[in-house]
C-alpha cells in the first residue's frame, strides 16, 4: 500500500511539472518596433552605444544592456536586413551581427576601419578607410569571403539591382569618384563626380549624390560641396548644383516622398537645407540646427545634435513641413537613426 502511494505521488509530481502545451501567437520582439540611434561615442576612450527609441520611451545603451559588453569605439553605421542588424564600429574595427528584434549578439568579425555596409544576397559588403578594397562578409557567420578592389578609400554604399555604388571619398584626403561594382560578375567601373561624395538617393534609374567638397585644413585647397546625378543605365554623370563658396559643404542627403531633398549644410554644427532638382545650391536654412548627422525615415527628419561631443547628444524629430514633433536624449555623438 505504501509503495503504491509513493508511486502515485511520484507519478503526480512528474505530471505536475509539465507545462500545458498550447499554441500561441509569437510575441512581438522587444526592439522590433524601436528606431535605433547610432551613437559614435567619444573618440579613443570609451564606447559607442545604441539608443532604442520607442513611442514613449528610450532605452539607452541597448547593445550593452542586452549583450553585457560595449559595442565598441565609434559606432559608424547600422543596417537592418530582414531579422538581422549589422553594426560597424570604425575604431574598434568590428562588424557585429545581432538579432534586430532582441538585439542579442550573434557574431562579430574584424574589418579594419569599416564605414558603411550593404547586403546583396548572402553577402555583406563593407567599405573602409584603411585600404582600397571592399570587404565581402558572409552574412550568416561573418566569415571573410572576398576583397574587391575599388581603387580608393570607400564610404557610403547604395544598391541598384545587384550593383553597388560606392562613394570613394578619400578618407581624410580627397577623392571625387564612385566605384560601380557588379556583384554578379565582379567587375568594377569608376565614375567622376564632385569632391568627397558622401551620401546617395536612388530614384528609379537615377542616382543623386551629395558631394561634401574638400576641407583643406592646412591651406587654400578647399572646394565647395555639389550635387550630382548619375544615369545608372549609361553611367553618365552631371552636376546639378554647387556651392559658390569653398566653405559651403554638405552631408546626409535624404529625400521625402514628394521628391524634395534635404541635407546638412556642413559636417559639424550644421543646419538642415532643402533642395529640389533644378534649383541652385541652397543658402537658406530650412531648420536651424547645430547638427552632426541627418536621417529621414518615412518622411520624418531626424536631426542629430552632438552638443559638445563629450556629453549625451540629442535627436530632434521634424516632419517634412519643418515642425518639431519630438526631442530625444541619446548617447554621445549621435550619428544616424535607422529603422
Amino acid at each position: 500500500m505504501k509503495k503504491n502511494l509513493l508511486g502515485i505521488i511520484i507519478f503526480a509530481a512528474l505530471f505536475a511539472s509539465c507545462e500545458k502545451n498550447t499554441t500561441t501567437e509569437p510575441k512581438t520582439l522587444p526592439y522590433s518596433k524601436a528606431k535605433l540611434v547610432l551613437n559614435e561615442g567619444p573618440f579613443g576612450s570609451g564606447s559607442g552605444s545604441l539608443s532604442a527609441v520607442f513611442a514613449d520611451s528610450t532605452v539607452h545603451e541597448a547593445f550593452a544592456l542586452e549583450n553585457g559588453f560595449p559595442v565598441g569605439n565609434i559606432l559608424q553605421d547600422g543596417l537592418t536586413v530582414d531579422s538581422l542588424l549589422y553594426l560597424a564600429t570604425n575604431v574598434s574595427s568590428q562588424i557585429h551581427c545581432l538579432s534586430r528584434g532582441t538585439l542579442k549578439h550573434k557574431w562579430s568579425t574584424s574589418v579594419a576601419s569599416p564605414r558603411s555596409m550593404a547586403v546583396v544576397g548572402q553577402k555583406l559588403y563593407v567599405s573602409n578607410w584603411t585600404n582600397p578594397y571592399l570587404k565581402v562578409i558572409d552574412i550568416n557567420g561573418g566569415a571573410l569571403l572576398d576583397s574587391i578592389l575599388v581603387h580608393g578609400l570607400s564610404g557610403a554604399i547604395a544598391i541598384k539591382n545587384n550593383a553597388l555604388i560606392v562613394a570613394l571619398d578619400g578618407g581624410f584626403s580627397n577623392d571625387h569618384r564612385l566605384a560601380i561594382v557588379d556583384t554578379d560578375l565582379g567587375g568594377v567601373d569608376t565614375l567622376s563626380v564632385g569632391d568627397k561624395p558622401n551620401s546617395f538617393v536612388i530614384d528609379g534609374d537615377e542616382l543623386y549624390i551629395l558631394c561634401e567638397g574638400y576641407s583643406d585644413w592646412s591651406g587654400t585647397g578647399s572646394t565647395a560641396g555639389s550635387i550630382w546625378r548619375v544615369d545608372l543605365l549609361d553611367l553618365t554623370s552631371s552636376k546639378l548644383a554647387e556651392g559658390s563658396d569653398a566653405n559651403e559643404h554638405g552631408s546626409g542627403l535624404s529625400r521625402d516622398s514628394d521628391g524634395t531633398f534635404y541635407f546638412l549644410n556642413g559636417t559639424y554644427e550644421s543646419s538642415v537645407v532643402k533642395w529640389n532638382n533644378g534649383e541652385a545650391w541652397p543658402t537658406n536654412n530650412y531648420i536651424n540646427a547645430t547638427a552632426y548627422g541627418l536621417s529621414m525615415i518615412e518622411d520624418t527628419l531626424y536631426v542629430h545634435d552632438a552638443k559638445d561631443y563629450a556629453s549625451n547628444g540629442t535627436v530632434m524629430v521634424y516632419d517634412n513641413a519643418g515642425n518639431l514633433i519630438d526631442s530625444l536624449v541619446t548617447g554621445v555623438i549621435p550619428r544616424k537613426t535607422i529603422k
Binding site: G44, N90, S92, T130, G171, S215, G266, Y268, N312
Partner: protein, 594 residues
C-alpha cells in the same frame, strides 16, 4: 568618426638630491611652512628607495591631493591638483616654470622622482607667486649638490617586466660641488587584465625613458654659481584601448634643459634658462595616419633681489613652437614683488599679454588660534593661452584671452606629541576657461568658453614614534560648471571631468627587528569622463593596497620587496585602459652612505 580628436603633444618634472634621506628610518613629517607654502607629502623612508628608480608620475600617487592620469605605467602622465586642470598645474624647476609653452603641460613620466621632495607640492592660490600662470597649483622640482661624497646604484625589477636603473654620485673638487644622476626606465607592461567581459594580456603599451641630471655649484667671491643640465629621451608606444585592435602609435621625445645661476650673498639672484624639446608622433590608429612634429624652445632670464623685508623678481620668457602643426613665438615679461614681513604678506605678479597688462595679487596671513597654526591666503591669478591653443593649424585661436581665477586657501595644523592633524582647503572661481569646440567647417578651435568653480579639501592625521608611523589623508574634490558661452551647454551645473570626487591614502610603517614593513592603501573616488556626467562615462571608485618589506642586509645595501595591488583590484584612469592588477617588484640599492 568624421574627424580625429585634436592630438596635443604633451610633455611633462624636485627634490634636494639628499642621499642622507635614504638612511632615515622614520616617517618624514617635516612641517614646512613659510614662503613656499608647500604642504608636506607623507613620504616614508621606504619610499626613498622607490624614489631612486621611479618617475614622478609613479611616485606622486602617494599624495592624495594629486590626481595623476596615465594610460598605462610609464605612458604620458599629466597631473592636476587642488581642483585645477593639467594646464593650470605648473611644474617649476629651480623656480623656472618649465611647463610646455606649446601644450601647457609637462609629462611627469619623464621626470625622475628624485627631483621631488616633501616640499614640492604647492596647492592653491599661493602657486601664483611662482613665475606663472599659477592659477591652480605648482609642483616644485629641484636638483641640489651639497658637496658630500656620495654614490648609489639602484635597480628595480617587476613581474610585469618594468625595470629601472639609476646611478648617482656627488662630491666636490676644489671649491666646486657636483651631483649627477642617470636614470633609465623601461616598461614592457606585460600584464594580464580583466575588465568586465574583457580579459587578455596587455600588448603594444611599452615605453622607455632616459634621464640625465648634472649639477655643478661653487663659490666665486661673494657669489655662488650653479650650472644645471637635464637631458631626457623617451619612446612610448600606445596601443589604443582594449576594445580596439592593437594599432600602435609612437611618440618620440627628446629634451635638453640648461640652467645657469649666480647668486650673491647680498641678495641678488641671476638665472638663465634654456629648454629645447623635440617630439615626433606617429598615429596609425585605424583610418588615421598622423605624423606630427613639435619643436619647442624656451628661454628665460631671471633676476631676483631679496632683503629681509622684500623680494623683487624680473623675468623675461621667450617661447617658440614649431613643427608640423604650428609656427609661433611669444615673449612674456613678468615683474614680481613680495612683501616678506608683516601680518599680511603680499605677493604681486604682473605681466603683459598682447599689450594687455595682467596683475595677480596674493595676500597671506598667518594664523594662530588655540594652539593651532595656519594661514589664510586670498588672491587672483591667470593662465596664459598656450602657443598650441593660439596657433595650432588648423583651428588655433589667436584671439584667446587668459583664463582668470580668484582663489582662497586656508590651512590649519596642530601638533601634539607624536600626533599631527592638518586640514587645508582650496577654492577657486575660474573664468574664461579655454575649451576646444567644433566649428562649422569641421575644424576644432579653442575658445574662452566657461566659468567654473573648483574646491578641494584635505584632512590628514599622522603619528610618528620611534618604531612606527601612521598617516591617513583624505581629500574631497568638488567642481561645477557655472556658466558657458553656449546657454544649452550640457555641462552647466555638472562636475568637471576626470576630477576624482575623493582621494585617500593610508600609510602604516612598522620597524621590525631586521626589516621595515610598510602598507599603503589608496582610494580614488568616482570620476566622470563625460561633460554632462552621464552614467556611461563614469570611472568607478577604486581601492588598492601595496605592501612592502625593506631591509638592509649588509652595510650600504638596501632592498625592498613590494606586492602591488594586493587584492588584484581592477583599475583604470581612462575607460578601457586597464592598469596592472597584482604584481611584485624588487628594488635594490647600493649606497656609499648606509
Amino acid at each position: 568618426m568624421k574627424k580625429y580628436a585634436l592630438i596635443l603633444a604633451v610633455k611633462m618634472a624636485w627634490i634636494p638630491f639628499v642621499l642622507s634621506a635614504q638612511s632615515a628610518d622614520t616617517l618624514w613629517t617635516a612641517n614646512v611652512l613659510g614662503r613656499n607654502f608647500s604642504i608636506p607629502t607623507a613620504f616614508s623612508a621606504s619610499d626613498s628607495l622607490a624614489q631612486t628608480t621611479q618617475s614622478a608620475g609613479e611616485y606622486l600617487v602617494r599624495d592624495p591631493r594629486i590626481a595623476i592620469r596615465q594610460y598605462v605605467p610609464g605612458s604620458v602622465s599629466t597631473v592636476s591638483l587642488g581642483g585645477a586642470n593639467s594646464e593650470q598645474t605648473r611644474i617649476l624647476w629651480g623656480g623656472i616654470d618649465i611647463s610646455s609653452g606649446a601644450s601647457g603641460v609637462l609629462d611627469l613620466s619623464l621626470v625622475p622622482a628624485a627631483m621631488i621632495s616633501q616640499s614640492s607640492i604647492v596647492g592653491g592660490v599661493n602657486s601664483s607667486s611662482f613665475d606663472v600662470s599659477g592659477i591652480g597649483s605648482s609642483i616644485l622640482l629641484e636638483n641640489a649638490a651639497d658637496g658630500k661624497d656620495q654614490f648609489y646604484s639602484a635597480f628595480s625589477f617587476s613581474s610585469i617586466e618594468n625595470t629601472g636603473v639609476s646611478v648617482a654620485n656627488g662630491g666636490s673638487f676644489g671649491s666646486t660641488s657636483y651631483s649627477s644622476k642617470i636614470q633609465v626606465n623601461r616598461n614592457l607592461n606585460n600584464y594580464s587584465y580583466q575588465m568586465g567581459p574583457y580579459s587578455g594580456t596587455m600588448e603594444g603599451a611599452s615605453n622607455s625613458a632616459l634621464n640625465f641630471l648634472q649639477r655643478f655649484q661653487g663659490d666665486l667671491g661673494t657669489y655662488t654659481w650653479t650650472t644645471d643640465l637635464w637631458y631626457t629621451e623617451s619612446e612610448k608606444l600606445s596601443r589604443g584601448s582594449i576594445i580596439t585592435p592593437v594599432n600602435i602609435s609612437y611618440l618620440d621625445d627628446k629634451s635638453l634643459r640648461i640652467k645657469l645661476g649666480l647668486k650673491s650673498k647680498s641678495g641678488s639672484d641671476f638665472q638663465l634658462y634654456s629648454g629645447n624639446e623635440s617630439q615626433s608622433y606617429t598615429d596609425t590608429n585605424a583610418a588615421l595616419s598622423v605624423l606630427d612634429t613639435n619643436l619647442y624652445m624656451q628661454w628665460t632670464g631671471y633676476y631676483g633681489y631679496t632683503d629681509s623685508l622684500n623680494k623683487l623678481t624680473v623675468r623675461a620668457n621667450y617661447y617658440t613652437a614649431g613643427g608640423s602643426s604650428r609656427d609661433a613665438k611669444m615673449l612674456v615679461p613678468k615683474l614680481g614683488y613680495e612683501r616678506l614681513s608683516g601680518n599680511w604678506k603680499v605677493k604681486l605678479n604682473t605681466t603683459v599679454f598682447r599689450s594687455t597688462p595682467l596683475l595677480s595679487i596674493t595676500t597671506t596671513r598667518n594664523l594662530q588660534l588655540l594652539g593651532t597654526k595656519g594661514y589664510l591666503s586670498l588672491g587672483n591669478s591667470f593662465r596664459l593661452p598656450t602657443l598650441n591653443e593660439m596657433y595650432w593649424q588648423p583651428g588655433g585661436n589667436p584671439e584667446l584671452v587668459p583664463e582668470r581665477g580668484i582663489g582662497a586657501k586656508w590651512l590649519v595644523q596642530k601638533t601634539k606629541g607624536a600626533y599631527q592633524l592638518m586640514f587645508t582647503t582650496d577654492q577657486f572661481l575660474i573664468d574664461h576657461l579655454i575649451q576646444w569646440v567644433p566649428t562649422v567647417n569641421g575644424n576644432w578651435s579653442p575658445i574662452n568658453y566657461k566659468s567654473v568653480y573648483t574646491g578641494s579639501g584635505t584632512a590628514r592625521i599622522s603619528r610618528v614614534n620611534k618604531f612606527s608611523s601612521l598617516s591617513w589623508a583624505y581629500t574631497l574634490n568638488t567642481s561645477r560648471v557655472l556658466n558657458s558661452e553656449n546657454p544649452g551647454d550640457p555641462s552647466i551645473g555638472k562636475s568637471l571631468i576626470y576630477r576624482p570626487l575623493s582621494q585617500s591614502a593610508f600609510l602604516y610603517e612598522q620597524k621590525l627587528k631586521a626589516m621595515v614593513f610598510q602598507m599603503r592603501a589608496y582610494q580614488i573616488g568616482l570620476r566622470h569622463t563625460l561633460r554632462d556626467n552621464s552614467a556611461s562615462g563614469i570611472l568607478p571608485l577604486e581601492r588598492w593596497v601595496d605592501v612592502s618589506l625593506s631591509a638592509s642586509p649588509w652595510k650600504g645595501v638596501r632592498s625592498m620587496l613590494t606586492l602591488h595591488n594586493v587584492t588584484n583590484a581592477s583599475r583604470a584612469q581612462f575607460q578601457y585602459y586597464p592598469l596592472p592588477g597584482r604584481y611584485i617588484s624588487i628594488q635594490l640599492s647600493i649606497n656609499s652612505i648606509p
